[in-house]
Amino acid sequence: MRRLLRAKDRMDAASHEAWPVPRLAKVSGVSEAHFARSFKDAFGVPPHRYLLTRRIERATALLRDTDLPIINIAFQTGWTSLGTFGRIFRDITGESPSELRSREQAAGHALEQVPHCFVSAAHRPDLTIAVSEKRRRDSTGNASGETEEVP
């Protein structure tokens, strides 16, 4: 369990990097099959989906706290295509990156007193279902093309 946490910590520290299961299993010092299964058992979500929540959380923070162009945010948080980023971002948060930015920046916050990691954890999307499943449920019957969830 402590070894699995090590893999999770590494994703937390560098969510913009690619974290395929073999790499994570190596960090944990366990077999790939064992890793994928036990990570989900321990943390409730498969590793790739956990990574996705960290990336969206990071992107949300950058949208809120900086004026960086959205394309830069997409690349900084680990996506290789602006289109994929925008689509998955909307699938998860229900808003486009620019919509979220204008709403958040209009709101104003008093989070300076809270240590950073707890603020970010509080803003992490709660991805209890796969993004493709969420997309299916949200879509009103229009057959949008299947997109791989793996970022």
Partner: protein, 134 residues
């Protein structure tokens, strides 16, 4: 005497290991180490905080049953326990010192929000934020 919180504890899966970590690596000192049979009341103290003790408690009988103890150890190992914050004068200097001592950092020092912060875990999985005082 001063009033206020005197002891607050965290769960550790091995008290000997925790003692080495908090005393030898982080620079705390032992305040109380008292045993009664298998039970061990172990608290440590930060050198600058003589009125506060951090308890290093093992989930065990008789305070909890065996199954609960196993669950608690697992929860700690998952990193699911509440946040802990260690305030220091110089985050980067502490990071260097603690790293050399073998502390497992999960985030290197980052300057933001007018301060510098880093993250580390104790051997059981308790997560600490290392924050430079403002």
């Amino acid at each position: 005497m001063s009033q206020g919180v005197g002891v607050s504890g965290i769960y550790v899966h091995d008290q000997d290991e925790a003692l080495v970590f908090y005393v030898d690596k982080l620079g705390f000192s032992v305040h109380t180490d008292a045993r009664n049979g298998d039970y061990r009341w172990l608290t440590v103290q930060h050198p600058d905080q003589p009125t506060f003790q951090l308890g290093l408690f093992k989930p065990q009988q008789p305070t909890v049953d065996e199954a609960t103890a196993a669950t608690l150890n697992e929860v700690v190992a998952k990193g699911a326990m509440p946040p802990l914050v260690l305030v220091v004068d110089d985050c980067r200097a502490s990071y260097d010192r603690f790293s050399k001592a073998g502390v497992e950092f999960t985030q290197e020092p980052i300057e933001r929000y007018g301060s510098v912060d880093a993250s580390f875990r104790d051997p059981s999985g308790n997560g600490w934020k290392l924050i430079q005082g403002r």
